[in-house]
């Protein structure tokens, strides 16, 4: 059996985002990292692998620089790596999902883990959309998953707290932040990863005709600046602020 984890490389959450010519300036990004929730997906994919659920393949679709993320995943224990070389920055939901769904089929994976949303798009579309394309059950907002006999037990957020649910393969889990330590590569892992070969393909190699995006990005801009706030010294100012909240802002 094969487990797939979908990893997206995004500007590190501490990196400044600059805009030029109506687009986020990718070249000015100081540091690229694995999207935060994807790291939890990877951690639980490793746990499932260790519990004997199958081999683990790390998949990304992105430019050349994204391959580093796959090597890092191999250094902590991913068995193989698939890199679909393509620029995803102007792709719509259908395009990216059809590529990743084809990649999952290509790897014959029946268990898929990914992030609940990527730190660049902030969408949360990919996991559920891919699940529907590959005919897998979709368990969203998961913070724990484990093997339970022939199926899987997961903890997911619900409207009234958390729920423990059970699901069989084929299934896809979208990960929220989880209460677990993330493992970091050690020297031996890094050496091993260097010997592993990344399978690099194009969307066409996977049989995907991506076509035109149906969602055209007209512009990306910096968020509108807020007018500077008012600052008051000391607790004596609390009554003034409460008055302003009532009379200026009209919110209480």
């Amino acid at each position: 059996m094969t487990i797939a984890v979908l990893l997206k490389q995004v500007p590190d959450t501490t990196a400044k985002i600059a805009v030029s010519g109506g687009r986020v300036d990718q070249l000015s990004v100081s540091k690229w990292s694995t999207s935060p929730y994807d790291e939890y997906a990877l951690e639980y994919a490793l746990k499932l692998k260790e519990a004997g659920a199958g081999n683990l393949v790390a998949i990304t679709c992105g430019p050349q620089r994204a391959s580093k993320m796959l090597t890092d995943a191999a250094a902590v224990g991913a068995d193989s790596m698939l890199h679909i070389l393509a620029d995803t920055s102007e792709m719509d939901s259908e395009q990216i999902q059809s590529i990743l769904a084809a990649a999952i089929r290509h790897c014959e994976a029946e268990i898929v883990l990914c992030g609940k949303q990527a730190a660049d798009t902030n969408s949360g579309s990919t996991g559920p959309g891919v699940a529907s394309r590959i005919g897998a059950a979709c368990v969203g907002m998961v913070s724990e998953v484990e093997v339970e006999g022939g199926s899987f037990s997961a903890l997911r957020a619900s409207s009234s707290g958390n729920e423990r649910v059970s699901v069989s393969k084929p299934c896809l889990f979208t990960f929220d932040k989880a209460a677990t330590e993330l493992r970091r590569p050690n020297v031996k892992g890094i050496m091993m990863a260097k010997r592993k070969v990344i399978e690099t393909v194009s969307p066409q190699d996977l049989g995907v005709e991506i076509g035109d995006s149906k969602v055209n990005i007209e512009s990306q801009n910096s968020p509108p600046e807020k007018p500077p706030g008012q600052k008051f010294e000391g607790a004596e100012s609390v009554p003034i602020v409460v008055l302003k909240l009532r009379e200026e802002a009209n919110v209480i």
């Binding site: 559920p128 707290g161 932040k177 910096s222 010294e233 000391g234 609390v238 909240l245 802002a249």
Partner: protein, 305 residues
């Protein structure tokens, strides 16, 4: 253009954001159908002005949440452009319905302009993106970003039976500690950070919250340091994104990852003893004081209103 709205439900009724979805849909023109999964909130939905039809969608699959099953049962009742809330559930359903209908989805939109220009925050609010799209498509809308439609409608309610095979079995429900309102549902939020010193001091935040009907949130440092503060309270990059009318940050420094989850709040109040705390950079009203000094007075003043 026909519009189908996926009702956002809360318990057995309608979540107030549904009225905002109808309000936003009104600007697109075209008949509006509200789809109520599990029939929940159907009669409330028919009261919303501007709604032409309510589909009370009944089926066994709606007993527990399975976005695959729900979306299969819902897609065949969805016509034209589909609008849902950008809640976790709304996003998951929106994405699945889009892929089942073979149309794109745009999530978490905050502005819809003529010519179908959709604006949404990206990069955790560090940029905004405007896209053009032609119908049909699926769009999820951020709570509190759109004017709510008024009541006074009288749409016909049609019951449709449709179900689909469920693949997720709920084994156990683990209730949240306490009965407090969830931050993602609240119009006013008061959040505490590491500056609260210890978790029992959150009782002061609870007191304020009780007076003004607020939810209580927390920074990641608070959630990580204290077991008593559950992750469900966390606001920020790896917590919840909130968009209330009023956000009060107490003893929170204002790290970029915290701001990512709350900077689009309409009004922000910060209480922090450090005049240089970055939270003051986004606050509409900043109070440089310790919470020990400021909260009693805040309680008293709010109590007078």
């Amino acid at each position: 253009m026909e519009i189908t709205i996926i009702a956002e439900t809360s318990g057995d009724g309608l979540h107030p954001v549904t009225g905002q979805l109808v309000g936003a849909a009104g600007s697109l023109g075209g008949p509006i159908t509200v789809l109520c999964p599990g029939g929940r909130g159907a009669s409330e939905a028919s009261d919303i002005s501007g709604v032409s039809k309510v589909i009370s969608l009944e089926g066994d699959c709606f007993a527990s949440f399975d976005s695959g099953a729900w979306s299969s049962a819902m897609a065949s009742c969805s016509q034209g452009t589909v609008i849902a809330s950008s809640s976790p559930r709304g996003r998951e359903l929106g994405a699945q319905i889009a892929s089942k209908m073979g149309i794109p989805v745009v999530q978490d939109v905050t502005v819809i302009e003529d010519g179908l220009m959709l604006t949404r925050p990206v990069y955790s609010g560090k940029a905004v993106e405007t896209s053009s799209v032609s119908p049909p498509f699926v769009v999820t809308l951020r709570q509190n970003a759109f004017e709510e439609a008024e009541n006074g409608g009288n749409a016909e309610v049609v019951t449709v039976n449709n179900t689909s095979e469920v693949s997720i079995a709920v084994k156990e429900a683990i209730a949240k500690a306490g009965e407090r309102m969830d931050v993602s549902e609240a119009d006013i939020i008061i959040s505490g950070g590491r500056g609260m010193g210890n978790p029992s001091n959150f009782s002061h935040l609870n007191d304020v919250a009780d007076i003004i009907g607020a939810a209580v949130g927390a920074s990641r440092a608070a959630v990580d340091s204290w077991e008593e503060i559950p992750h469900s309270m966390q606001v920020g990059q790896t917590g919840k994104t909130v968009n209330p009318t009023l956000y009060i940050a107490v003893g929170i420094s204002g790290a970029i990852q915290h701001l990512a989850g709350m900077r689009s709040s309409k009004y922000i109040v910060a209480i922090n003893k450090d005049p240089d705390a970055p939270i003051f950079g986004v606050a509409d009203y900043g109070i440089v004081a310790t919470w020990e000094d400021a909260l009693p007075s805040l309680k008293e003043e709010l109590g007078k209103l």
